[in-house]
Amino acid sequence: MKRLNLPKEKTFIGPALIWKRIAAFFIDMAIVNLIVFFPFRKLFQNIVPKDYTFSEAYKFLSSSTNYTSFITSVSFVMSIILLLYFLMMERKMGQTIGKMLTKIYVLSNNNTLKTWQLLVRNLVFIPIFPFVLLWILDPLFMFFTKSNQRLSEILSKTTVVEVYSLGQYP
């Protein structure tokens, strides 16, 4: 007898749990920092001697306009690379590595994800005013909205979701 190709379990899609989102974020940041930002880390290690305290490093880097302009340029390039990571991953798969591991997805509220939506939802990574305001506002919104959406997610009409299981079909 031929069987119908029915889904094996009942599922529904809902907003991703906050702890999963935070975990995914930290996994992504760890991967980007450890691997993608390796050349930048090496660069900073070469510029600032290892035995410096934070205040010593700050004093050292502020000692020259050459350094400050360099640090500004490097920070900007780093943020662009970080933005590219999220754009490339989410555009193609709706997931970053962190989201893959925590099994959560980015979803457009209307249709398929558009590039502008991804850009808007990741504006938080650009270290320029007024986007820096999102560093505080964005996570706050996540805790007080129904769908656990960040402010930039509301603006970009996207939601981070996960698949919830309701058990097997009889």
């Binding site: 980007v32 930002f37 590219l84 990571y85 590595i97 979803l107 509220n109 939601t159 979701v161």
Partner: protein
């Protein structure tokens, strides 16, 4: 493809089209691509912003004082070796603010230059709390010697040229030439001495006296600074502050330098004083690609502009005298 309603009927969830293995492959591709981009970005940034990262290691800063000492970064010397006082002062401060740096070597090879610029550098040397050693190689004369004298210790080669404590402000005067070509200098000034030093007219005795008085004052100040820096008797310095240069050996006898020698002697002094094994970090004002390009372009524009405009209105001709040490 499964489409599952989300949050009521607002949107659709599309399951990733890629198989899991391909998704991980794509993730690795993105990471590798962005890492490569990071390496390229670091290289390009270093090239354009101009920080020689390797030069920042070590515990002894080596700062070159080369060529003519000038007061502005945008000097007239495009491919000639010059030391601008803002650059030199910045490098000294950078070394001062770096806790790893225990001593600063000023590698001097300069005939001097602007009195103001020389004093600015000398003051920065005096202000630093680090051990400072001046190493005079071929020439450390006039303003360059002023800077050297500000260091804690001065080492010079036996055959090097030092001293030349004096001030010069000579200039070309060509009213005779103008007269030959029937060109008249129309003196229109408000203020008796406004065109003092103009090459188009002969300097009066009174004007010469004023100039000489000022030059003597600067020379006196220069000699006083040297005496103070080197802990010498001012009257003794006055006797040798006649513009004459001295070879290293003579300078040692006069007390203008502390030791005859070169780089090895300089390092030995620092290692003994600071009880360290010296590792040199070259502090140089790196010329970035942008710096060179912008300088070439600005020079080009300048000469084009100069061709279009009248050279008679060139302000440089109106005050052609500069005081150099």
């Amino acid at each position: 493809m499964n489409k599952i309603p989300v949050n009521g009927n607002k949107g659709f969830f599309q399951e990733p089209r890629m198989p899991p293995n391909f998704r991980w492959g794509y993730a690795i591709f993105v990471i590798v691509l962005l890492s490569a981009l990071g390496f390229v970005a670091v290289g390009v940034l270093s090239l354009f912003v101009g920080i020689d990262v390797e030069s920042l290691r070590g515990n002894v800063a080596l700062i070159p004082i080369e060529g003519i000492i000038v007061g502005t970064e945008d000097s007239e010397f495009l491919f000639e070796s010059v030391t601008s006082s803002p650059d030199a002062v910045e490098l000294i401060r950078k070394a001062e603010n770096n806790p790893s740096i225990k001593a600063i070597i000023l590698e001097i090879n300069s005939p001097g230059g602007s009195a103001v610029a020389s004093e600015e550098i000398a003051n920065a040397v005096k202000k630093t709390n680090k051990t400072t050693v001046a190493l005079i190689r071929e020439v450390g004369a006039s303003g360059a010697y002023w800077i050297a004298s500000a260091a804690d210790y001065v080492v010079a080669n036996r055959a090097s040229i030092t001293g030349s404590i004096g001030v010069i402000a000579s200039y070309l005067e060509f009213p005779g030439l103008l007269e030959k070509y029937n060109i008249t200098y129309q003196r229109l000034v408000s203020g008796k001495y406004k065109d003092i030093g103009s090459p188009f007219k002969e300097m009066t005795q009174e004007e010469k006296a004023i100039f000489q008085q000022n030059l003597d004052a600067i020379r006196d100040y220069f000699a006083g600074e040297v005496a103070n820096n080197r802990n010498l008797n001012k009257k003794d310095v006055d006797r040798i502050a006649n513009g004459l240069f001295y070879l290293g050996a003579q300078a040692k006898e006069l007390g203008l330098i502390d030791e005859l020698g070169g780089f090895d002697e300089t390092i030995a002094y620092i290692e003994k004083k600071e009880k360290i094994t010296a590792e040199i970090a070259e502090y140089k004002k790196e010329k970035t690609l942008l710096d060179v390009l912008s300088k070439v372009l600005s020079k080009q524009s300048f000469f084009v502009g100069k061709g279009i405009g009248s050279s008679l209105f060139d302000r440089k001709i109106q005050s052609s005298i500069t005081i150099t040490t």
